[in-house]
């Protein structure tokens, strides 16, 4: 476990110096860090608790809308808005989980799509609350300690902090009692129950944590774009992208979602500039190839291989 903390510290250090080394590549980096954070948050529910959600755009949207509407319609400072969003997201996740956790496997997944779609329609139609279909601009933000929150550097460090927090949370979980409970529920709810774990409570906690962290990233996303539209922010494809990032990297692993973000966002950016119109085609093919040849994800697959080898050696000796 210690080595994970060493890797973590090294990566954060690298992250801190990145803007000095590549000042012209901040937007891509911000997008990458946001996806890394979202995928890691998603993985708490999707990987560690084993509940695949395709509705996480709702939490991105909650965070983004609290910040955008809060700052531009109600003059609430973004940090208070984010705090409110975290609370709201946990509450939504709680109710959402209460409603749907009795559903298993694909039923749960499909129900998350339905709920997220309802969120999208509410965001579009309730203009008094959200600004409606035409979206919300963030024109001015306060300047805490003289920091311009709109500047790419500040956006970058916010996104870095967000990604770091999510990874740190997952590292703490992975060795905690809660982490073992999550895995027990994922592997077999009935046996988990037999050993005194309440699966619904455990899953609810995971969902609330996952939702709140995703909303945190959503708040930063709103500032990064400084203009949000409900169609884009509550879009099914965003949910799918987040889940995809985590699964491609490797579900239920500490670094999988980050590696996934590197692959998904990085390749997307490279393909965008090199393959012109064919870029999405190549991207789709890449997803298929990775999943077919590495079904447990880029991190998950070698990890499984290593574990197997260790067991094989033990069995030999």
């Amino acid at each position: 476990m210690k080595k994970h903390y060493v890797i973590f510290a090294g990566l954060v250090l690298m992250g801190i110096f990145y803007p000095r080394m590549f000042p012209g590549y901040l937007s891509v980096a911000i997008t990458l860090l946001l996806y890394a954070g979202w995928a890691t948050s998603w993985d708490i529910l999707g990987g560690w608790a084993g509940q695949v959600s395709l509705g996480h755009a709702s939490f991105v949207g909650l965070g983004a809308y609290f910040v955008a509407v809060g700052t531009s319609h109600h003059e609430i400072a973004p940090w208070w808005a984010v705090l409110m969003a975290l609370f709201a997201a946990s509450l939504v996740a709680y109710l959402w989980g209460r409603l749907t956790f009795k559903l298993k496997g694909p039923y749960f997944t499909l129900s998350t799509i339905a709920i997220a779609e309802i969120f999208r329609l509410v965001a579009i139609n309730e203009g008094w609350l959200t600004g409606g279909a035409t979206g919300v601009f963030i024109m001015t933000l306060p300047e805490p300690f003289g920091l311009d929150l709109f500047s790419r550097q500040v956006n970058y460090y916010l996104a870095l902090a967000f990604a770091a927090i999510t990874v740190l949370v997952v590292m703490l979980i992975s060795r905690s009692k809660f982490g073992y409970q999550l895995r027990a529920v994922r592997e077999d709810e009935d046996s988990a129950m037999a050993s005194g774990i309440n699966p619904t409570t455990v899953k609810l906690k995971a969902f609330m944590l996952s939702g709140a962290l995703t909303a945190l990233g959503g708040g930063i996303y709103a500032i990064f774009l400084s203009f949000i539209e409900p169609h884009i922010i509550f879009y099914l494809l965003l949910s799918v992208q987040i889940a995809l990032t985590a699964i491609i990297g490797g579900r239920g692993t500490i670094w999988g979602p980050c590696i996934g973000a590197l692959l998904v966002v990085g390749s997307g950016e490279i393909f965008r500039t090199t393959f012109a119109e064919a870029n999405m085609l190549i991207y789709g093919l890449l997803i298929m190839v990775v999943v077919i040849f590495m079904p447990r994800g880029i991190v998950g697959e070698p990890a499984r291989y290593l574990i197997r080898r260790v067991y094989a050696k033990r069995a030999q000796s």
Partner: protein
Amino acid sequence: MMFDYVSFLQNLSNGVLIGGVYALIGVGLTLVFGVMKIINFAHGDFVILGMYCAVLLNSLLGWDPYLSLLVAMPLGFMAGALLQRLVLSRLMEAPPESSLLVTLGLALVIGNILLLTFGAEPKSVNVSYASSTVSLGKVSFSIILLLAGLATMVVIAGLYTVLNHTELGRAIRATADNRLGAELVGINTRWIEAVVFGIGMALAVTAGVVLIPLLFATPTFSGAIFTLKAFVVTVLGGLGNIGAAIAGGLLLGVVEVMGASYLTSDYRDAYGLLVFLLILLLRPEGLFGKTVKRV
């Protein structure tokens, strides 16, 4: 104000007809799920493929869209079976989400191949009877929707016959119920899965062809919308149950049209989703799904 029975009947019949279209889109998805336990995210893009097939045959050979079913259905079946053999069969050992991801990738690939070959411009087939209606008393029915309903019925009847009265159908049902058991009695489940995915794709393609006189084909936009509708339809009824998918489709159509007619159309899609959530709460396995006992 007096209740307007004529417009109520008109709306109800419209809802049923629209529901028939939804059912046609959903039935292939539910069949594939029932047998292979995978959620096919490319289902809506298969529908779009059917649309482009009709568009292509119409613009090259001047075929009526319904005539192109003769080409589209077998092609769809072969493409589906091939896809299953070449791609999906490789995921047998993989975790269940893998199929979801692969079909998602497949959706991107199909959409963008269409984009590169046909261009992004929406395409359609204009038939002379596109807005014709037949009237029964004061209630009128769209010819296109009636034809779509007819196609749904024919397809469902055919599917029902195959599943219940043929050796192949028995093997398919056996595979759906218990894969291992089916293998033990000598059913080649790998082959069955290829056939099932082929049928699923043929059904989706059929839906596309039937819809083209009504709608536009766009390469990368409407696929996800059809997929979503198919999801709601199948879950409304109960995943993996064909009769239930029909009921789910009809229910969705009626709820949407009634909601849009008597409440507000802003939330049209939400009405279906709300009913869907309600059913989930009361009957987690869907309206007509089998209640699974815990073992």
